[in-house]
C-alpha cells in the first residue's frame, strides 16, 4: 500500500438509455487516492461526492460474486479487487462490459445472458432418479479426486469477462462462449449427470457451439478465476468430433 497521495483521473463512459435523447459520452472525475484503494472504493466515492447518478454493480466486493466485471484500461476484469495502485499513470478508463445488454453507465445485464446460457446447456444434473433419492440413506459415493476436479470447473462466477474477451462472440451473436463450454465440461465430468455424448452433441455440436471457437482464447487470458478454458474447449471438441 502506497502512502503517497495522488490525484487519480477516472474516465468513465456515461449513458443512461432510460433517458430519452441521452447519448454516450466520456466523463472525467478526479479523486484523491487512498492507501489500499480499489475501483470499488473509488467509484462509490465518485457516486457519493460528485455524481449520484452514476450506475455500476457491486455486491460482495471481495471477488466472489462476479457482479462487477468491466473494461478497465482496455481489459476486462473484476473492478472490486483491482487496486488503483496498479496504474502508475493514475489514469483509469472504465467502460461497460461489451457483449451484454447495457443497463446504464457501467452496469450491464449479465443475468439475462447467464440464465439463457444455463437453460441452453441445461445446467443441471440429468438423472431421472435424482428426485426419488431416499434422503435418509447414505449419499452416493464419489471418488474424492473426481469431486475436486468437478469443483475446479465449477469455480466460474459468471462474471462475463470471457464473453467480452471473445472475438468469435463478436462475430456470432449466438455463440455459446467459454462460460457455456465450462459449464458443459463440468457436467460432462460429473458421474451423477447421465447425459450421453450424443446428447451433449445436440447442445454444442455446431458453429454456435464448440466448433465455432476460433481458438483466440481471450477467455483463457482474462478469466479472473484462472479457469482452464483452453484445455476444456479442446477436450470438448475432441469428445464431440469423435461422435461423427
Amino acid at each position: 500500500m502506497s502512502d503517497n497521495e495522488r490525484i487519480l483521473k477516472f474516465h468513465i463512459l456515461r449513458y443512461n438509455p432510460q433517458i430519452k435523447g441521452d447519448t454516450p459520452t466520456m466523463k472525467t472525475y478526479e479523486i484523491k487516492e487512498a492507501p489500499g484503494m480499489t475501483i470499488f472504493i473509488a467509484l462509490n466515492e465518485i457516486r457519493e461526492k460528485y455524481d449520484p447518478s452514476i450506475q455500476f454493480d457491486f455486491i460482495c466486493r471481495a471477488g466472489i460474486c462476479g457482479s462487477c466485471a468491466m473494461i478497465i484500461n482496455g481489459q476486462p476484469d473484476l473492478a472490486c479487487r483491482t487496486l488503483t495502485s496498479k496504474f502508475p499513470e493514475g489514469e483509469i478508463k472504465l467502460l461497460p462490459l461489451p457483449g451484454f445488454e447495457l443497463i446504464g453507465d457501467l452496469s450491464v445485464n449479465t443475468g439475462k445472458f447467464m440464465r439463457q446460457m444455463s437453460e441452453r446447456v441445461e445446467s443441471w444434473i440429468h438423472d431421472k432418479y435424482a428426485e426419488n433419492v431416499d434422503l435418509c440413506k447414505l449419499e452416493e459415493r464419489m471418488d474424492p479426486d473426481t469431486a475436486d476436479e468437478i469443483y475446479e470447473l465449477e469455480r466460474c462466477v459468471e462474471c462475463g469477462c470471457c464473453v467480452s474477451a471473445c472475438a468469435t462472440k463478436r462475430m456470432r451473436e449466438g455463440f455459446l462462449s467459454a462460460v457455456g463450454f465450462m459449464r458443459l465440461a463440468r457436467y460432462a465430468l460429473d458421474p451423477r449427470d447421465k447425459r450421453s455424448d450424443e446428447e451433449f452433441y445436440e447442445i454444442m455440436g455446431d458453429d454456435d457451439g464448440v466448433f465455432g471457437c476460433m481458438t483466440l482464447l481471450g477467455c483463457q487470458d482474462y478469466c479472473p478465476k484462472d479457469l482452464p478454458h483452453q484445455t476444456q474447449i479442446a477436450y470438448l471438441r475432441r469428445k464431440m468430433a469423435l461422435i461423427n
Binding site: G36, R47, R61, C65, E139, E154
Partner: protein, 656 residues
C-alpha cells in the same frame, strides 16, 4: 397499475429463498422469485467454510449425531434459541445435504488412509477408514464437539448456491431480477404480497400472492465495517417491520466474526482456524490458550471475538494506520493445503493486501458478520401476527441461533429452513384462496408512489449517503462487540435524530428511473429504523448473552432475561420502536440452561432450571430402555413435515 398474481412470492434469491421457491414449485404452486440481482450473485455465495450436518463419515466426526449437533447449537446460542426449531434443524440437516448432493454439489469426500492435519498447532496423522471412502467429509469449526462442517474445498456457499439456482432453472422458476420490494401489501392481519420497484425503469409493480416469503438475508450493513455483501441492508426485514403488524425477534443479537481482514472487512473463513490456523499478537505470541485453555482458537465465535478485543485493549494489538489488529497465522498449514482448501483466502490476501498467506501473517480483527435477529416466525416460518407472511434464512428469527450462531450453521439453516418452511408455504397456498380487493392494491401502490414523488420534488434537504454513514458509525462505535448503558443510550438518542432527519431527504439526481441515489433514499430511512431496533433492544437488555455482551451487566441472567425480544413499529410517525418480550419456557426444554464452558460461569439461574433438570432425570429413570429417538420424543416432541421425518443413516452404525 401493473399487477402480477402468483401463489408463492419469494423476496430474495439466495439459498433460503430459492429453496422455498423450489419447494412451493414442486408442490404445484405458481412461484416467482424477486431478486436485486442475478440469483447466483447472492451473498450465500460468499460462505466459504462449510455447512454443518452430522453425517459423521470422517474419522474425526465419528460418533456424531443429531443429539451432539443439537447440544452444540443450543450451547452456542447461549440457551437463547428455540429448542423445537433447533431440533427440527439438526434432524433435517443430514437430509438437506444429501439432497444437495443429488442436485450436484461436489462436496469434498473422505479419502481412505493416512493424512496429515494440524491440531492445536501440531502436525498429526489421522487415518480415515476404508468403508467411509467417497462419502462426504467434514472439517473442524468453532464451538463444535465433532468435525461436522461439510465443505467443497473453500467454495461451499458458491457450489451450494449454483446447485440450488440450477435446480430452480430446471424447474422453470422465474427470477425477476433487479426488482426491489419496498412495502408489503396487507390488511386485517393478512399479507397479500408486495409493492415492488423495478430498479431499471423505476416502475412500481404490485406482486399479489397467497404467501409472501422474505428471504433477503441479514442487516450487516447497518455497521460501518461488515463482512457482508453491500446489499445485506436488511430491507426485507424492514418492510416487515413497517407493516406495524409483523414483529421482529432479537434484533440486538449481532455476531462479530473474529477474522476479517483489515481494513476492508472481507472475511477469511473460520476454516482457517478449523484447519489449524492460529491467532497471534504483536509479539507473535499465541494468546488464545491463556483465555480459553480448552477450545483455544476454536471457541465459539462470540467468545473468540471478545477475547481478541480484550487482548487488543491490553495493548497487545499490532498498531496500524487503521487501528490495532491481530495476526492470523496459517503458514503452518503449508502451501499445498492453502492452495487447495483455502484458495479464496489466498486470493483475497493477494488482491486486497498484497501478501502471500503461505509465507506471511494475515492482519485480522473482529468484524460485524451475522444477524441472528430478523422477522419473527413460528416454527412453520410464518409470522405469528401477519398471516401469509413467511421468512427463512438470515432474514428470519426462526430462532435456531438464539444469541450466537455457530460457524457452518448459517448455510445449513438456509437450506433446512428452505425445505421445511417451503412445505408450510405450499400448505398455506393449498389451503387459502387469493381474496383481495384491487382498491387495497391501489392504495399501497399510491402510497409508495407519493413517497417517491415527494422525494423527487424536494428542493433541499438531507443527503442519504451522509445519513447512512452517520448511522453506520453510531452502530460501530456504540452498539458493537462490547456494549454499555451510557453508549447505548447515546446511540438510541442519536439514531432518533437521524430518523427525523431522514424524513427530509432531498436528491441531487431527480429522476424516477434507474437512479442509485433514489434507491439509497428509499432504503436509508428503513435501515435507520432497523438500527434503532438493534440499539434500543440492546439498551434494554441488561444482561450478557451470546454475542450481546454488556460491560455493565457481564452475567447471563436467566432469571430475568431468558426471553426473546419482540419489536414492532406501530405508526409511520413514531420515532422509536415498541419492544415487548416472550418468555422461553424452560419446562419444555430438552436441554435446560447450563454453562457453555467458557471463562467463569456467572449465570444467574432461573428457578425453573433446577425443576426441569429434576424432571428430565425422572423421565430418564422411568424409561431406562428408551433409545435416543424415543427419549427425544419424550423430552421434546416436534413436528416436521412428513417427508423429512425418517431416521438418518450413518456409516458404521446404520440408522441407530
Amino acid at each position: 397499475m401493473k399487477v402480477i398474481y402468483t401463489d408463492s412470492l419469494v423476496i430474495g434469491g439466495g439459498l433460503a429463498g430459492l429453496r422455498v421457491a423450489i419447494a412451493s414449485r414442486q408442490r404445484g404452486c405458481d412461484t416467482i422469485v424477486l431478486s436485486l440481482m442475478p440469483a447466483k450473485r447472492s451473498h450465500s455465495a460468499a460462505a466459504q467454510g462449510g455447512m454443518q450436518a452430522s453425517l459423521g463419515a470422517s474419522i474425526k466426526g465419528e460418533g456424531d449425531n443429531e443429539e451432539v449437533h443439537f447440544g452444540d447449537t443450543v450451547k452456542g446460542s447461549d440457551w437463547g434459541c428455540d429448542q423445537d426449531v433447533a431440533r427440527m434443524f439438526v434432524n433435517t440437516a443430514p437430509k438437506a445435504i444429501r439432497q444437495l448432493t443429488a442436485w450436484g454439489v461436489p462436496w469434498s469426500r473422505v479419502r481412505r488412509g493416512d493424512r496429515e492435519v494440524v491440531i492445536n498447532g501440531k502436525k498429526v496423522t489421522i487415518t480415515e477408514k476404508s468403508e467411509a471412502h467417497g462419502l462426504i467429509t467434514s472439517r473442524d469449526f468453532g464451538g463444535t464437539k465433532k468435525w461436522r462442517t461439510c465443505f467443497t474445498s473453500d467454495g461451499t456457499g458458491h457450489t451450494m448456491l449454483y446447485a440450488m439456482d440450477n435446480k430452480a432453472i430446471e424447474l422453470g422458476i422465474p427470477v425477476h431480477e433487479r426488482k426491489e420490494a419496498i412495502a408489503l401489501i396487507h390488511e386485517d392481519g393478512v399479507c397479500h404480497g408486495a409493492v415492488v420497484r423495478d430498479l431499471v425503469t423505476g416502475e412500481l409493480i404490485a406482486y399479489v400472492a397467497k404467501a409472501t416469503t422474505i428471504a433477503t438475508g441479514g442487516y450487516g450493513r447497518l455497521y460501518a465495517v461488515s463482512t457482508n455483501a453491500v446489499i445485506s441492508e436488511g430491507i426485507g426485514t424492514a418492510i416487515a417491520l413497517e407493516t406495524g403488524v409483523a414483529t421482529l425477534g432479537n434484533m440486538e443479537a449481532v455476531q462479530f466474526h473474529p477474522t476479517a481482514i483489515v481494513p476492508v472487512g472481507i472475511l477469511t473463513t473460520e476454516g482457517c482456524r478449523g484447519d489449524g490456523g492460529l491467532l497471534l499478537d504483536k509479539d507473535g505470541y499465541r494468546f488464545m490458550p491463556d483465555y480459553e485453555p480448552d477450545k483455544k482458537e476454536l471457541a465459539s465465535r462470540d467468545v473468540v471475538s471478545r477475547r481478541m478485543t480484550e487482548h487488543i485493549r491490553k495493548g497487545k494489538g499490532v498498531p496500524s494506520r487503521y487501528g490495532d489488529h491481530l495476526w492470523l497465522d496459517i503458514t503452518l498449514l503449508g502451501k499445498a493445503h492453502i492452495d487447495k482448501n483455502l484458495r479464496e483466502v489466498k486470493e483475497i490476501c493477494e488482491y486486497f493486501l498484497g501478501i502471500d498467506p503461505v509465507k506471511e501473517y494475515i492482519p485480522v480483527r473482529p468484524t460485524q458478520h451475522y444477524s441472528m435477529g430478523g422477522v419473527r416466525t413460528k416454527a412453520t416460518g410464518e409470522s405469528p401476527t401477519l398471516k401469509g407472511l413467511f421468512s427463512a434464512g438470515e432474514s428470519a428469527c426462526w430462532d435456531m441461533h438464539g444469541f450466537n450462531r455457530l460457524g457452518g450453521n448459517s448455510v445449513a439453516e438456509t437450506v433446512v429452513a428452505g425445505m421445511i418452511v417451503g412445505e408450510y408455504v405450499a400448505d398455506h397456498c393449498d389451503n387459502n384462496s387469493l381474496n383481495i380487493n384491487t382498491k387495497l392494491i391501489e392504495k399501497f401502490i399510491r402510497r409508495e408512489e407519493n413517497k417517491i414523488i415527494k422525494l423527487l420534488n424536494r428542493d433541499t434537504g438531507e443527503n442519504p449517503f451522509e445519513l447512512k454513514k452517520e448511522m453506520q458509525n453510531i452502530m460501530m462505535d456504540k452498539v458493537g462487540i462490547f456494549r454499555n448503558g451510557a453508549d447505548l443510550e447515546k446511540a438510541v438518542e442519536e439514531l432518533k435524530v437521524l430518523n427525523q432527519r431522514a424524513r427530509n431527504i432531498a436528491l441531487r439526481n431527480r429522476i424516477s428511473t434507474s437512479n442509485p441515489e433514489l434507491v439509497e433514499a428509499i432504503r436509508v430511512p428503513k435501515m435507520i429504523k432497523l438500527a434503532q431496533c438493534v440499539a434500543y433492544g440492546a439498551m434494554l437488555r441488561t444482561e450478557s448473552r451470546g454475542a450481546h455482551a454488556r460491560e455493565d451487566f457481564p452475567e447471563r441472567n436467566d432469571k430475568d432475561w431468558l426471553k426473546r425480544t419482540l419489536t414492532t413499529w406501530s405508526s409511520e410517525d413514531a420515532d422509536l420502536p415498541e419492544i415487548s418480550y416472550e418468555d422461553l419456557n424452560i419446562m419444555k426444554m430438552e436441554m435446560p440452561p447450563g454453562s457453555r464452558g467458557y471463562g467463569v460461569d456467572n449465570t444467574v439461574h432461573h428457578p425453573d432450571t433446577e425443576k426441569r433438570v429434576a424432571e428430565i432425570e425422572e423421565i430418564q429413570a422411568a424409561n431406562p430402555d428408551a433409545d435416543r429417538f424415543e427419549m427425544q420424543e419424550l423430552l421434546n416432541p416436534i413436528e416436521i413435515p412428513e417427508k423429512f421425518r425418517g431416521k438418518n443413516e450413518r456409516i458404521g452404525r446404520g440408522f441407530k
